[in-house]
């Protein structure tokens, strides 16, 4: 019965072909593309010294600033109260100026104070134990702030304006 054999063979072939097509379509399908990752958030850069200085360049003279500078640079000799009794004062041959002395400070105008801080004691016919701070502070507004602090300490006004 050749015809029956053909019939059976055909059935087998059809099922094989169907399987092949199925596997073909399965192989061709690809996984979907994943969604793109969100962009990373760039953290803010920390402030650096350069930036702090750049801010200082535009900072106006103020008593607050004078306080900060005075306590850092001046108190070792002139003392926290400004009376010339800093921890380093006993080691000096000449007693540091008493900034709370209204008479002494009142005799000095702001220009004189500016020059003393800027150029040091030696340049204004005073003791060289007071060093020049101009180049280190590198900002006239810092010196002006320090003068405000000095005027605050002595509760006195300049002999003359500047």
């Amino acid at each position: 019965m050749p015809a029956r054999k053909t019939y059976v063979l055909m059935t087998v072939l059809v099922s094989i072909i169907t399987g092949g097509v199925f596997s073909y379509s399965a192989g061709a399908s690809l996984p979907p593309a994943p969604a793109p990752a969100p962009a990373a958030v760039v953290p803010a850069m920390p402030a650096t010294r350069e930036r702090a200085d750049a801010v200082d360049a535009h900072r106006k003279p103020s008593l607050q600033w004078g306080n900060e500078l005075y306590s850092h640079y001046c108190t070792p000799c002139h003392g926290g109260k400004g009376d010339g009794n800093g921890f380093n004062a006993p080691r000096l041959l000449v007693k540091p100026a008493n900034h709370t002395d209204a008479k002494f400070m009142g005799e000095r105008d702001d220009t004189k104070l500016f020059d003393t801080i800027n150029l040091g004691g030696g340049k204004v016919a005073k003791s060289t134990l007071m060093p020049p701070w101009g180049a280190s502070l590198n900002n006239d507004n810092k010196i002006k702030s320090l003068i405000m602090k000095l005027r605050d300490l002595c509760r006195c006004q300049a002999a003359k304006g500047w």
């Binding site: 053909t6 055909m10 092949g20 073909y24 690809l30 921890f87 080691r91 003791s127 060289t128």
Partner: protein, 718 residues
């Protein structure tokens, strides 16, 4: 049923046609549509899309030579795309003994334009396969990512092929393979990071930090010293109540402690206490704890003292346990005043390997410190308890202390240091059939097993095979880092020419960093921009100091900056000569300064110049106002007695020229020296360590008199 003959013929013809069609499907089509061919088609489609888009963008540019060139390149790419036939791309890496067909599907790994494409076409992330580092032609993929390089189907190449000897290392886990060519052993600092392998580096740091080497052996790694305190005299340090509280759940007190949780039963803790406390010898008498003497609040004074001593460089007192040393917020409950005073006086006497330095605290200050520390207690203080001394209990405790592996981290004089846990050599390729999964229901692969073991060490525990490893409480992230590290512990068949040590344990930088890390120098100092600000910033140290001086200083530190400016003093770490020299070399090499340094102190100076220099020193710039010599003079800047030996000549000149350039806040003024002044002052200062005191005294008198006379003239003339 009998069909007519013509139907038979028709059926036969149909059969032949179908057979031919099937043959075609089998032989031609199915081969055409192997999965990798589909991937290559998809790759081509993406590339075309990208290239067309780029071409459109470029064609909008204004006309230029560059534009024409770019367009030509793009056009050529588009044309050549059509002519590329699908093919298996195979690398045969003879040096590594592997065949690698990964690029058959991962065609875009080297092409930056595929960075947003989906897998497997996307660009390789990071700089790992940069042609200057690991060109794909030389290294392929399997050398780092393992897996079956010759497989052409995803599941075979990097599926969960459990029994494949070298399991595929997906993504960041491939960092473990860095270990093959760039080993970092225990002689490299914990903080050392391989730039392209942050996870592996973190795993390595955790591995060392958690002292896995206390119990496990790993080839090339040495057991660390001084992880946990010496327990021989434990009874003098803590009481039994505290011992129980601590051992039961160490992390409930110190969140960052390396001490793991042994999940001990109450009875076992009692027995261990009985044994450990039976070993202790009595303590030498310390100071009596007194909180007040004649109305003075000693604890309050002690608190101020503690801040000035720099204790906070290593210890926190806020219960957060963020410091290098243990948090002190409950130290008053934990330690007796006697023990504390002995400890502060000389920590290395109780525990020779401790990282705690000797702070050289005077006896009266120790009393103040202890008065303060004794007030530090938790809200619910631990009740003290007594210890049973029964022989039976002591013997039971002895066995427990031995079997729990306490000596992996703690030295106990009656036991040898160490404990035998399975070695970690080649653990990265441990075969799955060697692993005991117990009742754990996880996929049977090495990474799964290791991850669970790291996180829940007792998960595989069965009655027949009990697990001893304690629980460290690693987070998922930490567990992954440790897993990556452990997977990297395997034999690598790598020819020597590929090996490149990135952190050379013999180099000055690595040797120094190891010591800096171990002694927590950054607790107080900034080194390389990182660290605390209790001590001076050491950014210029190498350029500044004579390394010979630094080595001597480290072995026997003394106060350099006066107390008014710098209240803390450098403690004594007990560095050996070799260690001190290694640190000195570190700073010199880090700064690119000469090492060893040959002191150039005697530059010729005529008598006339010398006189001028002395005048500059005393009268013009009055250095003595702030600096002392042999204790005479100002106390704002450092003493200058050994200046010439301490500082390098170039540094003295640089510093004098503009101190603020090196240290913006320094109180040393910039005197705006002329070059000749700078030269002669520098020469004078470099000779300072060699001036006889008599000469100095003579100079001091002479110039002091002059100063007073001048001052007299000024005030008199006014």
């Amino acid at each position: 049923m009998k069909l007519p003959k013509k139907y038979g013929v028709a059926l036969f013809v149909c059969a032949v046609v179908l057979l031919a069609a099937t043959g075609y499907m089998f032989l031609v089509e199915s081969e055409l549509d192997r999965p990798w061919k589909a991937q290559q088609r998809r790759f081509k489609a993406i590339d075309r899309q990208l290239t067309v888009a780029e071409r459109k963008e470029v064609s909008d540019f204004p006309e230029s030579e560059e534009k024409r060139k770019k367009l030509a390149v793009l056009d050529k790419r588009l044309q050549s795309m059509d002519s590329v036939a699908p093919a298996i791309r195979q690398l045969w890496l003879t040096d590594f003994g592997v065949a690698d067909r990964c690029m058959t599907c991962h065609q875009g790994v080297e092409l930056p334009r595929f960075k947003d494409a989906e897998q497997p076409h996307t660009t390789h992330p990071g700089k790992h396969i940069d042609p200057k580092r690991h060109p794909v032609d030389t290294y392929g993929c399997v050398v780092c990512h393992a897996g079956q390089g010759v497989a052409l189907e995803a599941q075979d190449a990097h599926g969960k092929a459990g029994n494949w000897v070298e399991p595929f290392l997906p993504g960041r886990r491939a960092e473990s393979s860095c270990n093959g060519c760039h080993p970092m052993r225990s002689n490299v600092p914990k903080s050392a990071v391989m730039e392209d392998a942050p996870i592996y580096s973190k795993g390595r740091a955790l591995y060392l930090q958690s002292n896995c080497l206390g119990c496990h052996v790993l080839d090339g790694y040495a057991r660390a010293k001084g992880i946990g305190p010496n327990l021989t005299n434990l009874a003098t340090k803590v009481n039994a109540g505290w011992f129980r509280f601590w051992v039961k759940q160490p992390k409930s007190y110190l969140a960052k402690t390396a001490m793991p949780d042994f999940e001990l039963a109450e009875g076992d803790i009692k027995a261990m206490a009985a044994y450990l406390f039976s070993l202790s010898k009595p303590l030498s008498p310390g100071v009596k704890n007194r909180t007040a003497v004649s109305g003075q609040n000693l604890a309050k004074q002690g608190r101020a003292k503690l801040q000035n001593l720099g204790c906070l460089g290593c210890h926190g007192i806020n219960g957060k346990d963020e410091g290098f040393g243990p948090d002190l917020s409950r130290v008053g409950e934990k330690n007796s005043p006697e023990w504390l005073s002995n400890w502060i006086k000389d920590p290395k006497k109780y525990w020779p390997e401790t990282a705690m330095p000797n702070l050289r605290v005077p006896a009266e200050d120790i009393q103040l410190l202890v008065a303060y520390l004794s007030t530090l207690k938790g809200t619910k203080p631990v009740a003290s308890a007594s210890v049973d001394r029964e022989k039976e209990l002591v013997d039971k405790g002895r066995l427990l202390v031995r079997d729990k592996g306490c000596t992996g981290c703690h030295k106990i004089d009656t036991f040898p240091l160490g404990f035998n846990a399975p070695p970690h050599d080649n653990i990265g390729v441990k075969r799955v059939d060697e692993l005991v999964f117990g009742k754990a229901n996880i996929p049977r692969t090495l990474p799964h097993w290791l991850t669970l073991k790291i996180k829940e060490p007792r998960a595989f525990n069965t009655e027949k095979i009990p697990t001893l490893m304690p629980k460290f409480g690693f987070s998922n992230e930490e567990a992954e880092a440790l897993l990556t590290f452990l997977l990297g512990q395997r034999r690598f068949a790598v020819p020597d020419k590929y090996k490149k040590v990135l952190h050379d344990p013999a180099s000055a930088l690595v040797k120094g960093e190891l010591l800096i890390e171990r002694n927590n120098c950054r607790g107080c100092h900034k080194i390389g921009g990182k660290g605390g600000d209790i001590g001076p910033d050491l950014k210029n140290e190498g350029e500044r100091v004579n390394p010979e001086w630094l080595a001597a200083f480290l072995q026997k530190p003394r106060k350099i900056r006066p107390v008014g400016i710098e209240p803390t003093q450098m403690p004594t770490f007990g560095f050996s000569k070799e260690e001190a020299e290694a640190i000195a070399a570190y700073f010199a090499v880090q700064a690119g300064a000469s090492y060893p340094y040959y002191r150039e102190d005697r530059r010729e100076m005529s008598q006339e110049e010398r006189d001028k220099a002395w005048k500059d020193y005393w009268q013009v710039f009055s250095c003595q106002a702030c600096h002392s010599w042999n204790g005479q003079g100002g106390i704002i800047g450092p003493d200058q007695s050994d200046l010439g030996n301490r500082l390098r000549r170039d540094w003295i000149a640089k510093w004098l020229k503009n101190p603020q350039a090196s240290m913006p806040d320094v109180r040393m003024p910039n005197f705006e020296l002329y070059p000749e002044e700078l030269e002669r002052l520098t020469t004078l200062l470099t000779g300072f360590s060699d001036i006889p005191p008599s000469v100095w005294e003579q100079m001091r008198r002479r110039w002091d008199d002059e100063l007073l006379a001048r001052q007299g003239r000024q005030t008199g003339g006014k």
